[in-house]
């Protein structure tokens, strides 16, 4: 330690704990992180906040699950076969989303677009399965206004469906951007956010699948 540093340490009123600090960018003493890290980090925080939002919907569903008000209970309306199919579609589409990020890493326009098309089609399939489920419930008069249980169910699952729809809109925009702008740094950052979003939809769906559908058919 040089004498200048020693005097500095002596004057620093909180001089313990600064040993061995990292000078790597974005870590403690290293100065601002790279833009890719900053953007990814910010978007991850957004996803966390979205998880909090979903947790409220899960909580309200849990509170209202028994309040069928004379209407159907979860056991009577859930069809696990369809749900299994939906789950398959969504997880597969996440797989293709992953392949798209490999294609982006390799700077392959063709494979990126191809993988994203498959991702989108599987997402659409998921969505249409969900819509048919909702439509059949509506047809039987078991819409969200029927009982508090159905209110909670439609809101939770519908909110996820809405996220998937927004994701598809984003996916289309993303493909157009990749087509028009190529693999520019800012486009790649956005693509990183998109993939995180798409995988996040899976995480939520897995929770819905287990806590709503699996638990619901056992009740």
């Amino acid at each position: 330690m040089s004498s200048a540093e020693a005097t500095l340490a002596a004057r620093d009123p909180y001089h313990i704990g600064h040993a061995g600090e990292s000078r790597a960018r974005g870590y403690g003493a290293g100065g601002p992180a790279s833009k890719r890290i900053v953007v990814g980090y910010g978007f991850w925080l957004f996803l966390l906040s979205d998880i909090v939002l979903f947790s409220c919907l899960f909580a309200s569903y849990a509170v209202l699950a028994g309040a069928t008000a004379g209407g159907p209970s979860s056991r009577q309306i859930f069809d696990l076969h369809r749900v299994a199919l939906e789950t398959g579609c969504l997880l597969l589409s996440s797989f293709f989303c992953g392949t798209a990020s490999i294609a982006v890493a390799r700077r392959s326009r063709l494979w990126t677009q191809a993988a994203l098309v498959v991702t989108g089609l599987l997402g659409l399939a998921f969505l249409s399965l969900e819509i048919t489920e909702f439509a059949s419930l509506f047809a039987k008069g078991d819409g969200p206004t029927r009982s508090a249980f159905l209110t909670g169910f439609f809101t939770l699952v519908g909110c996820h469906g809405l996220h998937v729809s927004v994701g598809l809109l984003w996916l289309g925009t993303m493909m157009a951007q990749l087509y028009a702008k190529g693999f520019r740094a800012d486009i790649r950052r956005r693509f990183l956010c998109f993939t995180m979003f798409w995988h996040f939809l899976d995480i939520i769906w897995v929770a819905i699948f287990s806590l709503v559908y699996l638990v619901g058919t056992k009740l």
Binding site: Y14, V52, C56
Partner: protein, 666 residues
């Protein structure tokens, strides 16, 4: 269905002189200001330099301006409430219930969400990047979007003054009262969309600042070298990220109930209104700390600067901040002990609540010991802080009293409660914000605020606060509940009259504040701050000139100490004068995205309130198109050449050196 949904001429209160006159007055004032701006030719300047600005300093100033304006609006509501109660002993007063109920609902909503929040967020915006030694926040354009969405919410709330009505449910719209059956008007819808839209803005701010603080700090600035205000801002923004989605979800559920006939909180089909109470306070209690924690940070900075000492027990302060941040999520049930959850639950939440007082108590003592051994200058920011120290402690005490379930069984929802939360919010948040505004004003505008008028503002505010709110404690003990439009108990009356007199003192205080601004602007040349360091400050923002250049720092500072600027000042002037190597600076370009987005959000909100579906769809498409256009731009940044950076920085250094040479180091 008509083209304008539920909107018709009936929505304008032609038969109610008070809101009509107030609305007309506001419209005339706004129109006059707009005409003045256009005639003077300020439109291009405003558009280029402010409305489309993504500079955190400009956005911070705009947030504060919005907050101060809304503080005034909320205060007008307060005057009406106090005068109504003063007149309404065994009498109807001058405000019928359907109007009075809107007033207190609007008062709470505006003061918390559109007054205090923008002020606190505005100060964070202005100060945090400067204290961290960086050039802007992590996402500058998103920052602009946040601000304009908040402004949209404020606009919608104020629109309800002249078009339709505001909620008559209190500042938190508790169902079943807020359900369509009991509140069929548009008032609750105004509340829902205004708060929802501004809430999205706040959430984005939280994300933006957590990213900024955790990922973009000047070289060398480890966590434990961050100024305490940055720590409190971080804690506050973490709370925003964790709490505001709860608000979004809860209000969305109520919206679904009202718009689509869902049954979350209704009295029919198994709805559960208690769930709303739980969820809304799961947001509402952290919200209080979102407001107060940054103010604790402001007090810490001010007390340390004006005591000419580093903050005592910095690490303790950081721990206490994070402790409060965490525990504030475990206490929401204390807002409704009287729901009857049973002894175990009530006791657990009561104890959790009083545990928060440990963190606050530690802070109190550390501020006290910061002053110990100091050389205290009682400038206006320090006066506000002193007012806070001696006032907040009793406010905290009454808060802990309310956290004791059996005591709460007597005082819940009473005027005692109203006294308590005004006690802590006025002395904590309002005093804090004013301390912060006076403290950082020279940094933002390049001249100090007039001390005399500032001190007058403080003393009248302090006296006015006590005269207005201490009677509320008495009223609460005398069994008076809140939100009464009229009353028949004669023993309450004298205290209500004293409180109304207190409002007059507060009016004087506000007039002094206005005078302070007017006088300071008039005498700005005498009050000019040439050095950039008017208070002998201690953290990085005081190394920049006042006002700072758009890029804040010509070269990112390398931080070696907690109080880096004091350190530099103490080491040597020569070291400070050593010129760095200048490089070109890349800054984000201004963008109208935020403004245009908010423009469409306003129409979407208005359309949803009045069920004008075509307009809602048009607004959503417009907002989406705005994002796509923004995403399509090819050049997001512009470069300031090194010579220009050097020219600006050399001028600043010259001024600074002169000042440092003339002031002896402490």
């Amino acid at each position: 269905m008509s083209l304008l949904g539920k909107l018709s001429w009936d929505a304008i209160p032609f038969d109610q002189p008070i809101p009509l006159a107030a609305g007309l007055l506001v419209i005339v004032c706004v129109a006059a200001v707009l005409v003045w701006i256009v005639v003077k030719g300020y439109v291009p300047y405003l558009w280029k330099e402010w409305i489309t600005s993504v500079d955190h300093k400009r956005i911070g100033v705009m947030y504060c301006a919005l907050g101060l304006l809304m503080l005034l609006r909320g205060f007008v509501d307060a005057i009406m409430m106090r005068s109504q109660q003063a007149l309404a002993f065994d009498a109807p007063g001058y405000l019928p219930p359907e109007h009075y109920d809107q007033i207190f609902s609007a008062h709470g909503t505006i003061m918390i969400l559109f007054g205090a929040m923008p002020l606190v967020i505005g100060l964070m915006n202005f100060v945090v990047p400067l204290q961290l030694g960086v050039r802007d926040v992590a996402f500058p354009t998103l920052n602009s979007v946040s601000f304009w969405l908040t402004a949209t919410g404020a606009l919608l709330v104020n629109l309800s003054l002249v078009i339709g009505e505001f909620a008559r449910t209190g500042w938190l719209p508790f169902p079943p009262l807020s359900e369509l059956r009991y509140s069929p008007g548009v008032g609750v819808d105004y509340y829902l969309w205004a708060v929802q839209i501004s809430g999205v803005g706040t959430l984005l701010t939280g994300i933006n600042f957590v990213t900024t603080i955790l990922k973009t700090r000047a070289p060398g600035m480890t966590y434990l070298r961050m100024p305490i205000f940055c720590w409190t801002a971080l804690a506050s923004c973490l709370l925003i990220i964790a709490a505001f989605p709860v608000l979004t979800a809860t209000l969305a559920m109520l919206t679904l109930d009202r718009y689509l006939g869902f049954h979350f909180f209704t009295n029919e089909a198994g709805g559960n209104a208690m769930m709303f109470t739980n969820l809304i306070w799961a947001w509402g209690h952290p919200e209080v700390y979102i407001l107060i924690l940054p103010c604790f940070g402001i007090f810490s900075e001010v007390i340390s600067t004006f005591s000419a000492k580093p903050l005592f027990g910095y690490r303790s302060m950081v721990i206490a901040t994070l402790f409060i941040c965490l525990v504030s999520f475990c206490v929401w049930l204390h807002h409704f002990f009287t729901m009857g959850a049973g002894g175990d639950v009530n006791a657990a939440f009561g104890i959790a609540t009083s545990i928060i007082a440990v963190g606050t108590g530690v802070k109190m003592y550390n501020w006290m010991f910061t002053m110990y051994g100091g050389r205290i200058r009682f400038a206006t920011p320090m006066l506000w802080s002193m007012g806070f120290l001696i006032t907040f402690i009793t406010g905290g005490m009454t808060g802990v009293l309310l956290a004791v379930p059996p005591a709460d069984f007597l005082l819940h929802n009473s005027m005692f409660l109203v006294a308590h939360f005004h006690h802590v919010i006025v002395s904590g948040v309002v005093f804090g914000v004013f301390a912060g505004i006076v403290y950082w004003f020279p940094k933002a505008f390049g001249f100090r605020l007039h001390e005399g008028w500032g001190k007058a503002t403080f003393w009248f505010a302090l006296a006015g606060f006590y005269v207005t709110f201490v009677p509320f404690y008495v009223l609460g003990l005398l069994g008076m509940t809140r939100r009464l439009q009229h009353y028949t108990v004669p023993e309450w009356r004298p205290w209500i009259l004293i409180s109304a007199f207190g409002i007059l003192i507060l009016i004087v205080s506000i007039l002094c504040q206005v005078m302070q601004l007017v006088v300071s602007i008039k005498h700005r040349n005498e009050l000019r701050d040439e050095t950039g360091d008017p208070w002998v400050g201690r953290s990085l923002e005081w190394t920049t000139p006042s006002p700072p250049p758009v890029f804040n720092f010509a070269v990112l500072p390398d931080v070696e100490n907690t109080e880096v600027y004091v350190d530099v000042k103490q080491r040597a002037l020569a070291e400070f004068a050593r010129e760095p190597h200048y490089e070109p600076v890349e800054m984000p370009r201004n963008s109208p995205t935020g403004f245009v987005c908010a423009f469409f959000a306003t129409f979407v909100g208005f359309a949803l309130i009045w069920h004008i579906w075509w307009l809602m769809i048009a607004g959503l498409v417009g907002a989406y198109a705005t994002f796509v256009v923004f995403a399509w731009r090819d050049v997001p940044d512009y470069v300031i050449p090194a010579e220009e950076v050097a020219r600006i920085d050399r001028a600043a250094r010259a001024a600074r050196q002169g000042a440092l040479a003339s002031a002896a180091p402490p």
